[in-house]
Symmetry: D2
Subunit: 342 residues, 4 copies
């Protein structure tokens, strides 16, 4: 089998998760999240966030989570602001629009929204005499880390959140890879900070060691009325809710979530050094588990025969950007093998 750094979801689950699924397999537990493991997972996440009153729900995937959360929080005449490179802007097949809402796209700066540009947009909107004919900005969406692996600093996130509070619209943080962001050596944010600096976010499981699953965390009592029913209405409610509860109970026991995130970040840093030391150019300086490398057509072809990675974007006729990702399962052996190939 060919060596692969294609993504952070090419392996199964962290082995402790499988162990726990097996250990609890014969227990008879009520469905739809009314089980003890889901309860425990909620308590542990509340503790990890230092938010005893957080309202927490478990869903299956990132696009699903974005669709359910965003459409449940927006009023019908509102849209959601996002960077033009944001996942909801580009790679969710129009899931937000399918739910009836516009994604209002602002420029992305290595994947990030700029608070100053956001302020200008909001000011201009509320000064526009035609605004009643336009989609109202009803929420701000950002991802941490971004789709490019980059991070908002605490100051940057605070600036965005202050604006949201000023305009009384919720800030929603897409944490599909939250662990890799928080555990980055470049991050100055903690999980409790995240809870303080937005109104709702999700803790990604699928890409951080789970088989699937995302934990949605509403702070400030922002959970919409009957969110459970909205989840069901979107076809997003699992009958065997235990599957999500057990996984997150595991991930938030003994800091597993953070330990495997840090491991992947470290592996990615070594990968980055490797590329640099071999004379490769990086597309941007990602401090998290995804590394974006520039390859010329020749390198692409040769390397592509020996190792899997993701094509990201064409840079020009003879160069492309490709992505190498690390995960909980990435080990020194695979890095050594990569080193040899380079």
């Amino acid at each position: 089998m060919m060596l692969s750094f294609e993504s952070d979801y090419i392996e199964g689950a962290h082995p402790t998760i499988l162990e726990n699924l097996e250990k609890t397999n014969y227990e008879q537990l009520s469905g739809y999240g009314a089980d003890i493991y889901t309860e425990r997972a909620i308590e542990k996440i509340r503790k990890a966030c230092c938010r005893p009153d957080a309202e927490i729900f478990f869903l299956s995937g990132g696009t699903q989570t974005n669709q359910v959360v965003i459409s449940s929080l927006l009023r019908s005449f509102e849209g959601v602001i996002a960077a033009e490179t944001g996942h909801i802007s580009v790679h969710e097949a129009g899931a937000i629009e399918y739910s009836g809402h516009k994604v209002i796209q602002l420029p992305g700066h290595d994947g990030k929204l700029d608070a100053e540009e956001l302020r200008q947009f909001l000011e201009a909107f509320y000064q526009d005499g035609n605004r009643e004919h336009m989609v109202f900005p009803g929420m701000v969406y950002l991802s941490y880390p971004t789709e490019f692996g980059t991070l908002y600093s605490k100051e940057e996130l605070t600036a965005v959140y202050s604006l949201c509070k000023e305009y009384d619209i919720p800030l929603y943080l897409d944490g599909a890879r939250l662990g890799y962001g928080l555990m980055s050596r470049k991050s100055d944010l903690t999980l409790p900070d995240i809870g303080d600096l937005c109104d709702v976010f999700y803790i990604g499981g699928t890409k951080v060691g789970a088989l699937m699953g995302e934990a949605v965390v509403f702070t400030n009592r922002r959970a919409p009325a009957h969110f459970f029913t909205s989840v069901k209405q979107h076809g997003a409610l699992l009958a065997k809710g235990r599957l999500l509860g057990i996984q997150f109970d595991t991930l938030f026991t003994d800091d597993l979530y953070f330990r495997i995130s840090r491991h992947a970040d470290e592996m990615a840093e070594e990968m980055k050094s490797l590329f640099l030391s071999k004379g490769y150019e990086l597309y941007l300086d990602s401090p998290t588990n995804q590394q974006f490398v520039i390859l010329d057509n020749d390198q692409m072809e040769k390397l592509g025969k020996a190792v899997k990675f993701s094509f990201w974007d064409k840079l020009d006729d003879s160069h492309s950007v490709v992505r190498f990702a690390a995960s909980w399962a990435t080990d020194r052996e695979s890095l050594d093998a990569l080193a040899q190939l380079l």
Copy 2:
């Protein structure tokens, strides 16, 4: 822990599924269903259906599957016909209407549509001078077994399907518990028959031994264009598609799906005999894994202290209908324990 017959999704997965998840856990597989196990599962299901050209997709849950399939097949001015007791009519929190389509409700007879009533409805619709102001019937939905555990005979299903062909609308069969239907001693249908007698159906995994997962099978080349993208748009695409592929590969190896279904049906038959022998009255004669029993208020209270079951409906002031379900995990010991309680 209290004995429970609450539903067929109170345990985890059949142990062979967990074994296979573990065995393959470290394999690096591409995401979104582009893995070898998904491919194998598709091939095995095609074979089991005797439909080499069936188009097969894997989704996570029943409501999700109904929403994605129905909304992808209907045109915007069409609705779906269903029994008034059908799952989509009652217990999916309006997931079909959320996607923009009316559920056109016809009477249910122990959960079943009656072909003659369906014919009358369709005839009346096409004779109605105001039909262009009405929702067009664009699909027929039925469940096999029904929400009451009952079964269509081959003749009954054929009659419904003939009508669908006559009116050129697809027939969609909700097989959330398909195995329990096919393996019932009262069934005169096989899986290939199902493939012959509708245009799309799903093979339920969640309630038949999987952690989660449903296999959608389109016959007659009925799969909508770019169905993959529609799945994504509904937030229904799993990144680690392997999770679905491995489960269905397991269920369709060595007839596991059918063996565990038959086992549950047999357990349910014993349960039924048990209730009858103890003088309990059945609400209806279900030939599958769910049994519906009438309890008076006293019995409800006493029994409820020792064993878990589902409340189904109030019959009158002093009687209720409750449901006892069997699954792959139901064993003789639990039946013996139930016998003692009764």
Copy 3:
């Protein structure tokens, strides 16, 4: 041209409306309802309702009004309760479902909801342990007069509204033919009563003398935030809002709306007497401008050659129900002509 009682929208507008359109035609007025005539119409309707604080908006047609009002007031997980014969249940081509919401159908009694059945439904819903998997009843819809021309008494409407208040859901009254209801000799309700006994209603113009147009009246400060924008979002905002403003300004000047409604009701009463005196059977006893008559196939054919009416429903193989409607334009001559035909 053949004599016609086909509907109450077969003629143009009351001549005073055309006069006023002409009189004001060259005035330069801002668009989208920001004109003096719209303002005046709002004030006059407020006065007629004895509701100085009513929030009033003008829309173009009945289905549009129902869709915009209902979808703007419901939360995403809610549906609207209506009689199974209600306009939104049958003859709006699924406009409510298109906006994402289920129409929860209760039995109709000559078109009317029964308060006791409504109470039972609501009680059962809130006692149902599975209600979080179901569409929440978020509004009650009724029409006055109903689609069968029948009327709720003050007592009946009060009973329904009390329930709505008890369950804290708005009551919405579809007044496509409101004038004909209020001016009926059988009505014990006034326009201010209507304002007191629901949360939102509309005063139908299209079928009561206007070219088109309906006036939506929100009481109790129930108008949704940014309703103007929702109207636009539904494609329901007219650029030349004056067209609606001038028509309603006219209809609510010198009681024109009520006078032409009473006239039509009187014509319909004479029509009813005519049918009865000629030995025809009525399908039901409608006290408003629409009369429903039973014809045998022979009568249908013969009469149909000399006068236009609407086919309503097939009663049995040899009889049908047909509708004769009166409007502002119905005059004694046409009744005399009808008398001769009968």
Copy 4:
């Protein structure tokens, strides 16, 4: 009353329309477009387009038309490409997204799409390995004239349409002000050309002499199945369809539509000369009935006290763009009055 050039919908209807409404007012005509005037209007428009087989429908307003046409033609996984300044991108309150579809925004060049940029976008989309995770481009939308009053040349429109045919997606032309475009001295297109160079377009009535109303013209048998029902489902069907039929019958009798369009264009040209002769700067060179003028803050304030116009956009701290529009009702007197003010 203050002189106004605020928009082309500040007056009522061309007087011939009112005359015809009056003349036909007492005729009894079937509803929903089944009347002789609608039939005649359809025939006359077919003739004017040299398209005897065109399928034609009448709707009430521009946003409504865009929503109904676009959502009826797109499949659920598709979006519509438009200039970022297109009406559907900005000023329709998210009506397209409300119907479930993304507006895919490309750069606007004085309001126009560039065929080369469109080609690049389409090529890139079909080369993107992730395209199945993205919204498919399912239609191209453009407006003629654009929101800035500018025009596509025949060559430019042909280039866009060739691309659409190459990619097998319909081209939809928003003709809210179609007459002003076709009658411009700068236009090299005729109405039959429009019919040849797109798959569906609408002939705007609201802004070109009608009270309200737009005529949708499908060529190439592109009308969606049961479009009438889709219109109803969107709440866009008028009961008194005669109101639309009579207006368009009038507009397409004796070339009225074209004559009043040319008149407005001529008035606008004089207005333009006036502004230039007085030393004002134009924001762009519009060849149609809307003129975009740059005013400094002082001019804005002074002029605003004596004449109404529309604020368009802020240029910088001390300058704004404003719009002056001409219509069928603009006469020499008002231009003289404007001249004096300038």
